[in-house]
Symmetry: C2
Subunit: 555 residues, 2 copies
């Protein structure tokens, strides 16, 4: 059988260390900013690989990390997969029972833990769940007081000279699982998604070109998105493949830290969730910062308000680029670049396009289907669930055949659980999560759009909308609203109802406005609609509460 | 086993036809310039796929093409691999016995032949060698007079409506051979290199980023390099993956044709061998052409004179970018982009770097070894043979286990047969072919450098240098020189000898200057050193003809 050699991560690092030996990796730590070069980095990766060997780690074993974004975590990114083991990045913000489930499910043999995150692991520690863990390694030069054992400091663990070129790297096949990340679902146990060497290689190659994140050797890349969130969107790998300079902002960076790193290190490309950039914009209003090096901010996780895109563009000449992805897609699936023909468009039309999640990157395929599995037209209006597949899209869940069964269709498309429209130009726009979309009278209502509309009202602090069972219409929307201080609830309910009726089909208007003190939240700070839904599950609304002419005809 | 879906070519076309349906494919033909969109192109690909089905082509079969660069050939590029068959691009410029060997070795079942290339196939036709060919298809609307049979016109062959979305594309595994190209070696039979779907996918992804050819949806790509030369360096695939506009310059384009296409179609990126661009420069001297759209000319096949790089840069603001590759590397291996730190360099130093073959693209690994298999230092001076491996580098020859044995080392590195230096910055520079390098006294002498030096003399029309067996030094260089008209041979020999001694180590100076009327050439126009070497094989030079102090000490 002909065919090239296996697609693995190590040659990316080999190339960077040989062609860009002096390019820097910069890391903000508690002790200040540390920096070294690819040349030194590669040797440190070999030292960690050697330490893992000494610890008895073998091909197929899993090594967990509970860490922020810093150079030691980055060392783990290449060392663990390159010895044939699996880099299991753990989100320390999960509830304790999820941490227990994850470590037990993964059977991590070694856990690398940041000093500032020891407490989270100590709190979650349970001898049974953590039985597989033979060694805790604290990411620093010394070990603080901790109940975890056996424990060793990272710098002691990796002690000893090693050279990247001298280390006897194993031939890892491309089918070897190299990464593992759990989705923090709001329902049931977290589901593990494994990334093979080939999947990480493919994702890396796909994110380098213009249609991806457009990363070159000139770039200085600062991933603000945590490295425990789907490998910081793959940037530690893609930046290395490109020979770019890396900047890791360390534990809990605030806007001042980010501004300083951008200015001092000449960051060209950075990425994170919208709240990070809202925070930076606020900071920039009060402080003089030189952002001239910055070219691109990639935003994912959730949609950025159009105003954020606009302000960075107009005031700072920085492109804010939306990207969409999920744990199962490793994660990047779409990126909101404009097309050649749009160069001539006026600014408002461009912003409207850039507010969407964007265009599929090369190498993937997708379709958008309704409840009957029929593809919906690309008209920017009809909704359906996004189904996707490709070389870096997972085809199963770790040790969870029943979840795999549920989440993939016959043609191996992943059911993303995202409800989207696709417009005439092929731009995907997320309108809701499949579990949140309200199915009423044979049509779908976007809970997300209603929430955004409600939260646009100055008298509303927070709002969420769920579908409540309904005898005739299947479901009807009910809004839960946290009023701003000094708002009159009766006036507000009337005002919101008429606002929705003005902007949306009449049958989108919530049947009830329930005023509450706070919207319940999940561990990751998202609205916890599950709790609300459980509360309202038995309170089926009766016919008559929805005006007859308010709901659409059934097909 | 986790892992994404297979890496195949079809999703690139699917994406382009959906996201860039109106982007054009432009094709220069004998009848003028034709154009259509990706949308129509995709349906034409389905029509060809359907025609191949009707012709009985099945997975694993080979379909040969004997064609220039045009839209119908491009249709074959996606249709043949996407039905699971193998696109076998045949170089019509090969000698007849090679064409016979290739068709018989490949067992092509269908041959797609350009009208202007029918003659070459008719001349090579041999019932035994062509026994596997069940159908000749002439690339046009009608069939000219031909002795080939059975024969049908392409437009008749693909007649019938087909839609890309409706066609029942098979699930082709990534390990399926999708392409086949023979190397036109000067010794022995041509060797076939197969490209699996995965290799072509990998090469496509690797050539899109900045470190590759940097192709985006904005680009207008014109491959001048023939589509029978290693898939036109993969550009038909990579341009599709990017959603770029394609421009195919058709049969035997002259400089005026190229200039017109660049100007009228807004070409941003083009690629070909150095002589094409020398021709264009000459044309530009005499004619007013608007080259403002053109950003990048990729040069491969052989090295471009530095003056070409300089003139395009200074006079036309066009980047000339060297790339290196070979049939076995699908083909792109290195690209001569400058590094970030070189921005500040002065122009001359930049030109010197850009005259080299460049930096390895991400995903590959290489090493440069001497006769003992030891790696040579990266100092820009020591030579060695370039060994390379990676996901799109072949690991065997088609039906040629003995050639496979000879061309790969233990670690599956391909022996490229190119002798190179690598400088401190990692830039690869080809100094000779391994079979041409002269091994004298334990050191290597570059025949290519000597030839270039000799041909730089105004009294030399052509020159080639070979190694001739020598009792003491193993080999010594002998130069074969075609003097310019009115040159005095004796004066010339003295002048050349002292010129070489001035510029190179004394032991590089040829022991003899032999004046000839013309350097023998191969079918592809390269110097045929094999013939010269055979002639001189028995005329071993005796000790004494090389001055004792002229050769280096043996180690």
């Amino acid at each position: 059988m002909p065919g090239g050699s296996d697609q693995t991560l190590r040659p990316f690092l080999w190339r960077a260390s040989k062609l860009y030996p002096d390019r820097e990796i910069v890391s903000r730590t508690h002790e200040g900013v540390e920096r070294y070069t690819y040349d030194e980095y590669a040797d440190r990766v070999a030292a960690l690989a050697s330490a893992l060997d000494d610890a008895g780690i073998e091909e197929g074993d899993r090594v967990g990390t509970v860490c922020w974004n810093h150079h030691r975590h980055f060392e783990a990114y290449f060392a663990i997969p390159s010895v044939g083991a699996q880099l299991h990045t753990i989100n320390p913000l999960l509830p304790e029972h999820h941490l227990q489930y994850i470590v037990e499910n993964a059977q991590d043999r070694v856990l690398l833990v940041d000093p500032s995150l020891l407490e989270a692991i100590e709190a979650a520690y349970d001898p049974e769940a953590f039985e597989s863990v033979e060694q805790f390694v604290v990411m620093g030069s010394s070990v603080p007081d901790t109940s975890l054992e056996p424990v060793v400091a990272y710098e002691e663990f990796v002690d000893g000279d090693a050279e990247f070129d001298e280390y006897d790297w194993p031939d890892v096949p491309e089918s070897q699982p190299a990464g593992l990340c759990y989705t923090s679902g709001t329902t049931g146990d977290p589901k593990g998604v494994e990334y093979t060497q080939q999947m990480l290689w493919s994702h890396t190659m796909a994110t380098l070109p213009q249609a991806g994140l457009d990363i070159g050797a000139d770039d200085v890349v600062m991933p603000v998105v945590p490295m425990f969130h789907v490998n910081a969107w793959g940037m530690p790998f893609s930046s290395t493949a490109a020979g770019a300079k890396h900047v890791y902002p360390g534990p809990s960076p605030d806007p001042a830290d980010l501004a300083q790193l951008i200015e001092e290190e000449g960051v060209t490309l950075t990425a994170g969730v919208p709240t990070v950039w809202l925070g930076l914009l606020e900071y920039l209003e009060e402080n003089e910062v030189d952002l001239s090096s910055l070219e691109q901010i990639v935003i994912g996780g959730s949609a950025a308000p159009e105003s954020v895109i606009r302000r960075f563009d107009e005031e700072y000449d920085v492109d804010v680029v939306h990207a969409w992805g999920m744990t199962e897609t490793a994660p990047i699936g779409t990126v909101a670049h404009l097309k050649p023909k749009m160069d001539a468009w006026d600014a408002e039309d461009k912003y409207a396009k850039r507010a969407k999640q964007g265009l599929l990157v090369p190498g993937l395929e997708f379709k958008v289907v309704d409840d009957d599995g029929e593809e919906v037209p690309w008209n920017g209006e009809d909704f359906g669930e996004l189904l996707i597949k490709g070389p870096w899209v997972t085809t199963e869940y770790f040790k969870r055949p029943e979840a795999t069964e549920a989440e993939f269709d016959d043609e191996e498309y992943l059911r993303t659980g995202d409800v989207v429209t696709v417009d005439e130009d092929g731009y995907v726009h997320i309108v809701d999560r499949a579990k949140d979309v309200i199915k009423s009278g044979g049509e779908w209502i976007s809970s997300l759009e209603l929430e955004n509309a409600l939260m646009g009202n100055e008298h509303v602090a927070e709002a969420t909308v769920i579908g409540v069972p309904h005898e005739r219409w299947q479901e009807r929307p009910v809004a839960f609203v946290v009023p701003a201080e000094d708002a009159d609830e009766d006036d507000l309910a009337d005002g919101l109802a008429s606002m929705i009726e003005d902007e949306y089909p009449r049958w989108w208007a919530p049947d009830e406005f329930v005023f509450i003190d706070a919207v319940p939240k999940t561990a990751t700070g998202k609205f916890d609609k599950k709790t609300l839904r459980e509360e309202y599950a038995d309170e089926s609304l009766v016919e008559g509460q929805a005006p007859d002419d308010a709901a659409p005809e059934q097909d």
